[in-house]
Subunit: 457 residues, 2 copies
Amino acid sequence: MSQHIPTRLYLSENELPTSWYNLRADMKEKPAPMLHPGTLKPVVSDDLAPVFCMGCIEQELDETSREIPIPDALMGFYRSFRPAPLIRANFLEKALGTPAEIYYKFEGTNTSGSHKLNSAAAQAFYAKQEGMTSLTTETGAGQWGSALSMACAFYDIKLTVFMVKVSSQQKPYRKALMETYGAKVIASPSDTTESGRKILADFPDTGGSLGCAISEAIELAVKTPNCRYVLGSVLNHVLLHQSIIGQEVKAAFDKYGVKPDVIIGCAGGGSNLGGLIAPFMGAKLRGEADYRFIAVEPASCPSFTRGKYAYDFGDTAKTTPLMKMCTLGNGYMPPPNHAGGLRYHGMNSTLSKLYKDGLLEVRTAVQNEVFDAAARFAKSEGILPAPESSHAIKAAIDEALECKKTGEKKVILFGLSGTGYFDMSAYQSYNQGTLTDHVPADEELEKGFASLPNIAR
Amino acid sequence: MSQHIPTRLYLSENELPTSWYNLRADMKEKPAPMLHPGTLKPVVSDDLAPVFCMGCIEQELDETSREIPIPDALMGFYRSFRPAPLIRANFLEKALGTPAEIYYKFEGTNTSGSHKLNSAAAQAFYAKQEGMTSLTTETGAGQWGSALSMACAFYDIKLTVFMVKVSSQQKPYRKALMETYGAKVIASPSDTTESGRKILADFPDTGGSLGCAISEAIELAVKTPNCRYVLGSVLNHVLLHQSIIGQEVKAAFDKYGVKPDVIIGCAGGGSNLGGLIAPFMGAKLRGEADYRFIAVEPASCPSFTRGKYAYDFGDTAKTTPLMKMCTLGNGYMPPPNHAGGLRYHGMNSTLSKLYKDGLLEVRTAVQNEVFDAAARFAKSEGILPAPESSHAIKAAIDEALECKKTGEKKVILFGLSGTGYFDMSAYQSYNQGTLTDHVPADEELEKGFASLPNIAR
């Protein structure tokens, strides 16, 4: 290949993707449908209408449109923070002494510090278009809440964020950030909702969970006029919005003539992973190209590798539709020493299906080895990564070191989904050697499985 | 002009500037020279050699070379975080309803969160090249210390950072960030140096100052073998390194056919302001184009507008060469309610000279109006700005609102020198309405002036 490949693989504004890519359209066997928890029949848009915006519902239920145009007005917002940089990790390669080429897509240059803004912008756009005046949501580590706060400030929509209590204690500055953008932040479980009060009564000392915060956010949304609930991961319309990540990478790789061999993403609810791999997985499903895909999840919240592939609720109060996914059970709570995000009990249904179909490799990592990878990356590439993203870094380094052994010149792509600037208390613990690892015993997982609905058993 | 101007004015890698621009070469009357404090004669490189790296000394004393090539090896490091985005503030313009065009150069996408990495990378590069194994420095709000920690990790150099005590208390996460990159961080004044112990004896309750931290850092550097001291602002070689900011802007504006009318930067020691305006001021001095330049400084640390234009020391212990600058006196300490950076007592000698020659307008702002501007910017443009940079935003908004009154379609450029991600305690105070303004009375300034050396009186 004669073309010089720069350190940063630029896309100009007119090369930005103008539609999202819907991976399900290229799957011969579709992911199992969402079920209504009462009737156990596939949900229709009317079932979801009291909770979600209609623009999102249509996308959630659309399994056949391959390309879904990004509205022009939203493209203007996207252009304020996209394209995200695609960077050749020259210095990491050199530090590792690997013959592999490593590239990373860096989604952390916007203030929310992560890829989450891609879907927050879209969901706030639809809410505004449909005349909503307020939104509710949950946030764990705070990336999603920050992103949605920014999007709601942009569209002048009121926002209430239920923040997992342990995170709100660990990360007071995430709260301050959301408040600066005008959001109201409530530690969850709270006494402001019925589901919150119930959980507090049962578990007065709980640090909270995403599933619990979701229950509170949905409850408030359905009780409030012109208000809807929005979710930052897990659902298929969120993955659709995040497909902009992979599409930008693919456009840039195609422009510069690069073909990745291995594509690696961290996995919590699946939004970053799903967005990054979407167009590449699509090409693979259509038989146009071959790639290896690796998902990396925390050993302390291993929904892919140790979860059941079963119908489960999205929230602890069991109010959402049922989704077939790799799940630890809606009642699962990650151990309290779990420092970063990636703490959701279940995995997006499309990704779960791809995993079960053998199209996706999955690895786990404990947090100290994840922070080791993070510090190594930071010292050579400069960027301080989010603990979440560092799961992907860990696997990328392992792949590159494997290439060093074998002499293979593989092209490795990973998703650097965000920055760790609001995770300094975790880095502090890591620096001080007080971060501990915890791999749940089977008995601990059994408690989570006990919360699965009957249909799953 | 027929060309479409995108929201982001891209430069491709081969359009990156490959040399720094030395503004002094185009000044007919040069800034007053640095003087040796003993002989009161202009310093020569031998005077500076025990303290600074030789590569920096040569640049500091060079008033005639217009273009100074950026070493190839350093360009590799620069390419890992440059070019910095140059963004059209479409949404801010709309929110203000102004006919003006507003552009900002965003230096905050690297982990240090500011432009400081431009000089940190260069200074660490020269230190490595000259066989140094360790460096010392000071940091106030923490941007410079973070940047130098990153650069020292990159070049595998040990680093000790003396951090102004009040900042290290307000910003524990800045400390954790520097430690993650391997730096040793000491709150200043400390009992680890003679100058620190002396200040502690005289002012046991002091929150410290940059001048004091500089004294400690220099003392440690000259006592340690293969160690040098590096400074993040004020000096002319630092402004030289920062000229990359303005050169990128100028290259992008030239590419897209944009000509700014007003160029605005915040001003502390002058590194961001000097770097942003350099090539434009050069063009003005050469009679090739005309621009207005506006510096914005905090009302609580007003070296330009209320300082004396006089020879002064760079540090409290009076160990540095004398520099002719706008200064509040090396003993000046900003009021304790001062939340952000921009707390240095003096202003770079070149900028001081340009101000005295009438080439630079200067405004002051109190911190609540600065945070008002910051929040307004964040809500429309998405990015949460550093309190420092928000001084420039304040003036840019004022200029744009003036255009709204007059109907003028001015092109306004400002430097968004960094992000506020590590300033959330200040934002928290602002959100809660507890941030207070303080404009020092003349008597408060007199105390600072009392510390000026005799030569200044």
